[in-house]
């Protein structure tokens, strides 16, 4: 990609775009210091559907907005270096900006449908970014997986939100939270919450939907850092945190979040040990961190909300730089495999520095923001009794985080240099500045807490239950937590030291791949077309007579089933035959015509004669209609029958269909007789019901005075029910337009042969 030919076509410099989120970021900071949260904003959109662009920005939203615009600025700066030689850079920036808008909408929306729309938009953009290198089969498959999982989850989310709005009687998220415990007894709530969980868990890559995120690493690294680590995948966490005040007293809510969070965090951390690709290692650890966040949300108690926001910030601020670092290394050396990457600190000193600082935070070592986050989290865990088992899991998770941080910072940059990378040079300032800056800012938060504290405290207050809650970052007391931190660190270091051996050990469990969720999903996707092909072959075989048989038998089955279940017994003859009796002779004649045609049909060996006898049935019916007081219907029947017979005969002769009819006639005749008898019984049943003459009388009465027509049938067609008629002619037109190309092609083949 980086040859001269590509450079010739290198895109424009898009660095200036970074100014947009930067301005927004600065404005937000300024506004936060000036106007107390929450801010509200309402714009009418579709008032009849109660759909409006209602925005509500409280502490949690503000925290997300700062992350989105702040990290967004850095991502755009980084991308201007990373994509400098990519002809597709323009497309990339468009997607990033679109994503930014969607993300801003999602975290500031108060109307649940607006939230949903933005949420889906982020999934869609994510799909395009994961499949950005669309010439790569692997990228396309990953993009498809991501789309299936997140969009499928989006559907569940939509269902959940609709149910929730019906339970709470409002579309407003704040309204739902305000209703709070009042919703707990609604029988629909478990269903609503289950759907919500599916939506949030798919988005935030929780077990068992976790596998799409590591695969999504086919996206360009700036996108991975932004979407698949710092912001988008946290949307699920965001919504759960947002709704936590309303539901955290529910055992169902608590247990689900804690269980899923713990399983995800632990499982993803273990899987991280199996990866060799630096970016995938980071992705696994992101999943693990998301699991931790879900777990923290599930924890009861006041300090858990502080832990959530602190860890959320900390993770975004160390994981984004680490992704940037991985991207820079990939960019400079052409590989991301930790097998080859060694001693890069000489060639890439600034990147190494950024990695070191960010890793400190990830490992939760003192002097880093990660340390603060970790200590708050341990306070939260200490408060909960449910934590006994989860605690041990999290110990492992944190230890592996330490090991992963060490891999990213130490293993890659220290140790003996790899001769292959002698020519490697430090990447341009655009790719050095963002990771370094974010990492240093994160460090800053520990030393000068006045910057971060107000925002975090506001955010924590937004997702805590009690209004009087005043969170604070008190220094953790010495005691158990410190000991736990030390143990974690120790295990982490051990893991790092034995990384190779552990890796080889885990490698042996190739069974994990076959029975993993990803493998299952893969088989599901492959099985789906096979199922479709199978049942299409079974049902859509193209044999018209067989379709007819199946249709008739199905009709018969349903009708007789209904007859037996609902009203078994022989329906009586309709009592009032009044007007019919006067027409006995004419109706009798029509009946003779129909029966003659019907009785003759099974004995016809000649298709032409068969058509004629069927035509006779049609004409007989027309006569019947004529004398039974429906001249319009009779008229139509005559015309349809005529055109049908003429066309059928012409087509039969022109397409060279054998004139002799050789279908199994006894079976067909039996089915036809049975279907006819069934219809007859149904009709008798219908007649035995009391007829509601309200509508016919109304039509007859209003036809002349209101629609100025004496022919009631036609007045109904063109006036009273004109919309139905319109629909019908559209259907007729579309069926003709759809059939026309098929018929034309068929004819061409025929004329060639």
């Amino acid at each position: 990609m980086r040859d001269e030919h590509a450079a010739e076509h290198a895109g424009k410099d898009w660095l200036w775009l970074a100014v947009l989120p930067l301005i927004l970021f600065g404005y937000l900071l300024w506004e936060i210091s000036r106007t107390p949260l929450p801010w509200q904003f309402q714009l009418e959109w579709v008032p009849s559907l109660e759909l409006g662009i209602d925005l509500y920005v409280d502490g949690l939203s503000a925290q997300f907005l700062l992350l989105i615009t702040g990290i967004g600025t850095m991502v755009l700066v980084y991308a201007s270096g990373y994509m400098a030689h990519d002809r597709q850079a323009g497309r990339f920036y468009k997607l990033l900006l679109l994503f930014m808008v969607a993300m801003i909408g999602a975290v500031s929306a108060d109307h649940m449908l607006v939230l949903f729309l933005c949420w889906e938009l982020t999934s869609l953009v994510s799909f395009f970014l994961v499949g950005f290198k669309y010439t790569d089969e692997q990228a396309r498959a990953s993009a498809r997986t991501a789309l299936f999982i997140t969009m499928g989850g989006g559907l569940a989310l939509l269902g959940g939100l609709i149910l929730l709005s019906q339970i709470a009687g409002t579309w407003s998220l704040q309204g739902v939270i305000a209703a709070g415990a009042g919703l707990h007894d609604d029988p629909r709530l478990p269903a609503a919450l289950t759907l919500l969980f599916i939506g949030c868990f798919t988005k935030s890559a929780q077990f068992p939907f976790h596998f799409w995120l590591p695969n999504a690493m086919t996206a360009p690294t700036p996108a991975s850092a932004y979407l698949h680590s710092a912001t988008m995948v946290k949307l699920g966490v965001y919504l759960l945190a947002r709704l936590d005040p309303a539901f955290n007293e529910l055992l169902f809510w608590e247990i689900t979040l804690i269980a899923v969070g713990t399983i995800t965090a632990t499982w993803a951390a273990v899987l991280a040990l199996r990866e060799r690709d630096l970016k995938r290692i980071l992705a696994r650890s992101t999943v693990s961190a998301l699991g931790t966040l879900v777990l923290l949300i599930g924890l009861p108690g006041e300090s858990s909300s502080l832990a959530v926001v602190a860890f959320l910030y900390a993770h975004a601020l160390y994981k984004a730089p680490l992704f940037f670092v991985a991207g820079s290394i990939d960019h400079a050396t052409g590989t991301r495999s930790i097998d080859h990457l060694r001693g890069l600190r000489r060639q890439m000193p600034f990147t190494a520095a950024a990695a070191m600082i960010a890793s400190l935070s990830m490992a939760g070592l003192p002097l880093s923001f990660g340390y603060v986050a970790k200590s708050v989290a341990s306070v939260a865990k200490a408060e909960s009794e449910l934590m006994a088992l989860a605690g041990y899991g999290l110990l492992l998770v944190n230890a592996i985080a330490v090991a992963v941080a060490a891999v990213a910072a130490i293993r890659v940059f220290w140790g003996p240099a790899n001769q292959a990378f002698d020519q490697v040079r430090e990447v341009s300032w655009r790719m050095v500045l963002p990771p370094l800056l974010i990492a240093i800012i994160a460090l800053e938060f520990e030393f000068i807490p006045t910057f971060a504290d107000p925002v975090l405290v506001d955010a924590a207050r937004a997702i805590s239950t009690s209004n009087s809650f005043t969170p604070s970052f008190a220094e953790p007391q010495a005691g158990t937590m410190i000991t736990v931190a030390e143990i974690t660190l120790l295990i982490g270091v051990l893991l790092f030291v034995f990384w190779e051996r552990l890796h080889r050990f885990l490698e042996r469990f190739s069974i994990l791949e076959r029975f993993s969720c990803a493998g299952f999903f893969d088989r599901l996707l492959k099985g789906l077309p096979r199922l479709a092909a199978w049942h299409t072959r079974l049902l859509q075989h193209g044999r018209l007579d067989s379709y007819m048989r199946v249709t008739l038998l199905a009709m018969l089955g349903i009708a007789s089933g209904a007859w037996l279940v609902i009203e078994p017994g022989w329906p009586g003859m309709p009592g009032d035959l009044g007007g019919w009796r006067d027409q006995a002779w004419s109706l009798g004649a029509a009946a003779v015509l129909i029966m003659a045609g019907a009785l003759a049909a099974p004995f016809m060996h000649n298709r032409m004669a068969l058509l004629m006898s069927i035509g006779l049935v049609g004409y007989g019916s027309a006569v019947l209609f004529l004398f039974a007081g429906a001249p319009d219907v009779a008229f139509t029947q005559f015309m349809v029958e005529t055109v049908l017979v003429v066309v059928a005969v012409t087509v039969l002769t022109r397409y060279g269909v054998p004139i002799r009819y050789t279908e199994p006639r006894v079976r067909n005749a039996l089915i036809a007789v049975a279907a006819g008898a069934g219809t007859f019984i149904l009709l008798l049943q219908m007649f035995s019901l009391p007829a509601d003459l309200g509508m016919p009388l109304w039509f007859a009465e209003k036809s002349l005075p209101e629609a100025y027509g004496q022919n009631v049938v036609n007045v109904i067609l063109v006036d009273f029910r004109a919309l139905d008629t319109f629909g019908e002619i559209v259907v007729v037109a579309f069926s003709a337009i759809a059939a026309w190309p098929l018929l034309r092609r068929k004819r061409k083949h025929g004329s060639n042969g």
Partner: protein, 143 residues
């Protein structure tokens, strides 16, 4: 079709126009007597099929006011348009309006119903002719 019955060949054209005339008559009388756009459209289709069988599809198509596809589109658009005036007077879509036009010797009743019914007529004629001509076509395209 190379061989055609002589009688058919000479009378078909006449019968065709007669049928079209009848179909128009059925169309116009529909509001007060059996008839209407749908039936009239079917009569016209029968006329077109007669043309197509006797003289071939090209000629049948040329005898139509528009080619089948545009005719269908015209019909649907006309029916659609007939419902629009109601919207301007705040009534539901497809509420028909009537105007009495004084011609001196008689008053002619003009209404959007007529436009709607003509639309149905054209759509039915066009759509079924599309089927018909595609089925019967020997060479060339219909559209």
């Amino acid at each position: 079709m190379t061989e055609r019955p002589l009688l058919l060949e000479y009378t078909a054209r006449m019968v065709y126009w007669l049928m079209i005339a009848v179909s128009l008559w059925i169309l116009l009388r529909g509001h007060n007597a059996p008839g209407g756009g749908f039936i009239a459209g079917l009569v016209a289709v029968a006329a077109t099929s007669l043309m197509a069988i006797v003289y071939g599809c090209d000629r049948a198509q040329r005898a139509m006011p528009l080619a089948p596809l545009p005719l269908t589109g015209f019909g649907i658009l006309l029916a659609l348009a007939s419902g629009v005036p109601a919207l301007f007077s705040g009534q539901p879509f497809l509420t028909h309006a009537w105007w009495n036009i004084d011609l001196g010797f008689t008053t002619y009743k003009l209404s959007t119903v007529l436009a709607f019914d003509v639309g149905v007529y054209a759509a039915v004629w066009g759509a079924f002719s599309l089927y018909l001509l595609a089925l019967l076509n020997d060479e060339g395209d219909t559209a």
